[in-house]
Amino acid sequence: MRLGVLEHGHGRAARWFQKIVVTLMRHEVDDVVKTAMHRPGFFGRPFLAYGQEVLRGPSFWTAAEREHLGAVSSELNECPFCVRVHTETARLAGHRDVRPELAAVISFITLLNRGEVTPADAAAVRAAGVPSEALVEALHVNAVFNIVNRMGNAFGWSWDSDDHVRVAARVIQRTRYRLPGLVLR
């Protein structure tokens, strides 16, 4: 990573956590988690609270669909780090085909991220069978990725290998974006 504080600026619990992860998983803690554990009150704790609710809380969209949407947002923002892992988490969560409702939302998000969205586009999403609340939920998924894509690109987040991506995706699938509370203090 481009900032040494994100690589090494962690409290004692977070440092122990990283040692345990390396021993058990044979991979380093990923760069998102390292960043979240740096001064967690500033970013990591409130960000993960938001991300957990948006990506795994109650929703019109399945977890797999939200992961797929995250990969799409990351593609639009040209964040290869996030595309890789969220393509894998979508696969692990059972993502197969894009149902018409999700396709409509993807069109909306694509326009939105280009700065071209209009009320008529929102009406078109509803006409495809997506309730307004479900569109709002998708907008929050997009917001989560609009945050992390920018941070990943700016801070130079990277993967050591394809296996590192797969391991991280499995951890996300199992933990539902939860970290031990101690490492976020």
Binding site: L3, G41, F42, P46, A49, D121, R126, S132, L139, G156
Partner: protein
């Protein structure tokens, strides 16, 4: 979905994140973080903030090195980057919510 089954909605959690990043304690002035969040940071931050907001894939190692050469510390770069990212995301979200509300 009611507030009863869902005590803290995504919007509230995003507001809490935004408050931590823009109003919480930090090494940078809150005014700088707020400016970054709106995409209009002053001086040597201007180009960097614009890149993170508009085309973060263009940010390079050299951009970070240039900020350090200007005398900015890593914690400052961390805070301004996060503020920029959160601000850009909130603005997009609000543009989407407006389109929904007006449709």
């Amino acid at each position: 979905m009611t507030a009863h089954t869902r005590p803290m909605e995504p919007a509230e959690r995003l507001a809490a994140l935004r408050a931590a990043v823009l109003d919480g304690p930090g090494v940078t002035d809150r005014d700088l973080r707020k400016a970054a969040a709106s995409g209009t940071a002053p001086g040597a931050w201007a180009g960097y903030v614009r890149s993170v907001r508009e085309a973060s894939y263009r940010v390079s190692e050299e951009d970070i090195a240039a900020l350090k050469a200007e005398g900015f510390g890593e914690e400052e770069i961390f805070e301004v980057t996060v503020a920029t990212a959160v601000g850009a995301a909130v603005d997009r979200l609000e543009a989407g919510l407006r389109a929904v509300a007006e449709s």
